[in-house]
Amino acid sequence: MNIFETFKLAFKSIIANRLRSSLTILGIVIGVTSVILLVALVSGLKSFITAQISSFGANVMYVIPGRIGGGRGPGGSQANRLTFQDANNLRVALGGDAEVSASIQRTSTLKYQNKTDRDVTIAGVEATYFKIISALKIDKGRFFTFSEANSGKRVVVIGPTVVKNLFGGRDPIGEYISVGNLKYQVIGVVQPRGANFGIDLDNVGAISVVAAQRQFGEDRVQNILISAKTPELIKSVQSEAVKTLKKRLTEDDFTVQTQEQTLSTISQITGVLTAALGGIAAISLIVGGIGIMNIMLVSVTERTREIGLRKALGAKPKDIRLQFLIEAVTLSALGGIIGIILGIAFSLLVNIFFQTTITWWSIALSFGFSVLVGVVFGVAPALRASKMNPIQALRYE
């Protein structure tokens, strides 16, 4: 019996037992769907974060509190000891090689007349911030100046969503809005950047670090951004920054991380995440395989007479073995194909809310794995069928 006809036979028998077949492959379908969806989510998250970070410019590095890659985990239990003074020290030490901006981020409510905009990300930054973050472009008005920033003058640059929510699209330049209890004058609006993972990148306001520290009663800064003037300067700027910061802080207090290092950390994290989620989904594939084995064993018993008859009519043990093995593989492959379709469909659906990136390797891997599961768990039933004695099988009631 040739392979093509064996497949046809397998399809016939699967279709003849439609309901049972669908229930049997459910485990495989769920497994493959979740592998594809979960990997798409993690990949989407990774490319989102990567795009965000890359939009900061390739020469950017961060000074963040705590020690990464040391004995303790990121941030550790260490208290944040970074201050505005550290940013100033860096500025002096790095001179013309780099731009430096301390930064604080908080969420706050903005008000204008009777309008309110909640959950606005308020970034306390320095005037240099707008040079460092190349993705931030002014749409109307201007960014704040050095003197405005250093004196803590209450001026604010807002995002398009804030303009929409507070001014209904009217020109906000020169108007006063309240951040918490304090009034700030709007001096600029940035160009739209969109939204992702439920974060509206346009629902933002930028004020100076000095103003933000007063506003939020904070004497620390969350991180310090450094942008080397050229790619060649990245290494030397990083080591100079470490040297400078160590004058006041210990090496457990901070980490200076380049873009490259940040991206590789994110790769590591998403890699672990992918492996963990993929592993969980793979377990459901194995459970699905056991389901297939179970049903195939039942099917072999039910079809004892058929097996006996086929043998009497000249089927060799290997013909019977192949028939049942191919039936198991067809079942699991069918589950794999349905899982792929559902996985892609769900990924596209979820993409409306969260960025997902469907990866070909996850499709290939999960399909390959489901076929493998069919082979592995199909062997035992197929062997049992092929070993049946035709005389006894024909007599089976």
Partner: protein, 233 residues
């Protein structure tokens, strides 16, 4: 006798059993089902095998049909010693040389008459086109040309047994082996099937018919009686 009479002593021996024994062994018991069976069947004969229930008729048929090996003795089929062959070889010999007809028809459910009849050809690697052609032809010859697409549950018992006969004939086997082919049929339909056998035999097919009804066995050219595992008179 028909063919033998015409061709005389030159007719070839198809089946030869020499001192064939079959002993069934279980863990505790052993049962001697066939005892020193000697048997010779020539090409074109129509043999009836009769005997009471439990006498060993089906056991003999399983050996003749290459479904089972004898415990001892030799079985020569068409000049070839087939007493000690392996499962694979037996399977392909069965496929080529034997056509089985069972008491309970043993058709595949949910499968058309046309496809049921083709089953043996699938295992001899005949192409789909040729299989269809031969199956249609053979179903027409047993009077089921209008039931090609019918499934077993849409056919009467007699029609189902005709499909089974067609299936047995499709490989053009040396021997047609029928174990109680009329056991599940009423006497009228049973007689039809026996008449079909007679026609096939006239065309030269060797037929071995197992039955416990003497009235059916008398249709054969020669009747062999089995009792307690031995060939009697």
């Amino acid at each position: 006798m028909f063919k033998e009479a015409r061709e005389g002593a030159s007719v070839a021996t198809l089946v030869k059993l020499h001192k064939v024994n079959k002993i069934f062994k279980t863990d505790t018991l052993s049962f001697h089902a066939l005892i020193d069976i000697n048997l010779e069947i020539k090409k074109g004969e129509f043999i009836g095998i009769v005997g009471p229930s439990g006498s060993g008729k089906s056991t003999l048929m399983n050996i003749l049909g290459l479904l089972d090996n004898p415990t001892s003795g030799t079985y020569t089929l068409d000049g070839q010693d087939v007493s000690r062959l392996g499962e694979e070889t037996l399977a392909s010999l069965r496929n080529k040389k034997i056509g089985f007809i069972f008491q309970n028809f043993n058709l595949l459910g949910r499968t058309s008459a046309l496809e049921n009849v083709q089953l043996p050809l699938i295992y001899s690697g005949v192409s789909k086109e040729e299989r269809d052609l031969r199956a249609v032809e053979i179903l027409q010859s047993v009077g089921l040309g209008d039931k090609l697409q019918s499934r077993p549950n849409q056919l009467s018992g007699g029609q189902q047994q005709r499909v089974a006969v067609a299936r047995a004939l499709i490989t053009n086997p040396e021997i047609l082996l029928a174990d109680e082919p009329t056991g599940n049929l009423d006497s009228k339909t049973g007689a039809d099937i026996i008449n079909l056998f007679k026609t096939l035999n006239k065309k030269g097919k060797t037929i071995i018919l197992i039955t416990h009804e003497a009235s059916i066995a008398k249709n054969a050219n020669r009747v062999i009686t089995i009792k307690d595992g031995k060939v009697g008179r």
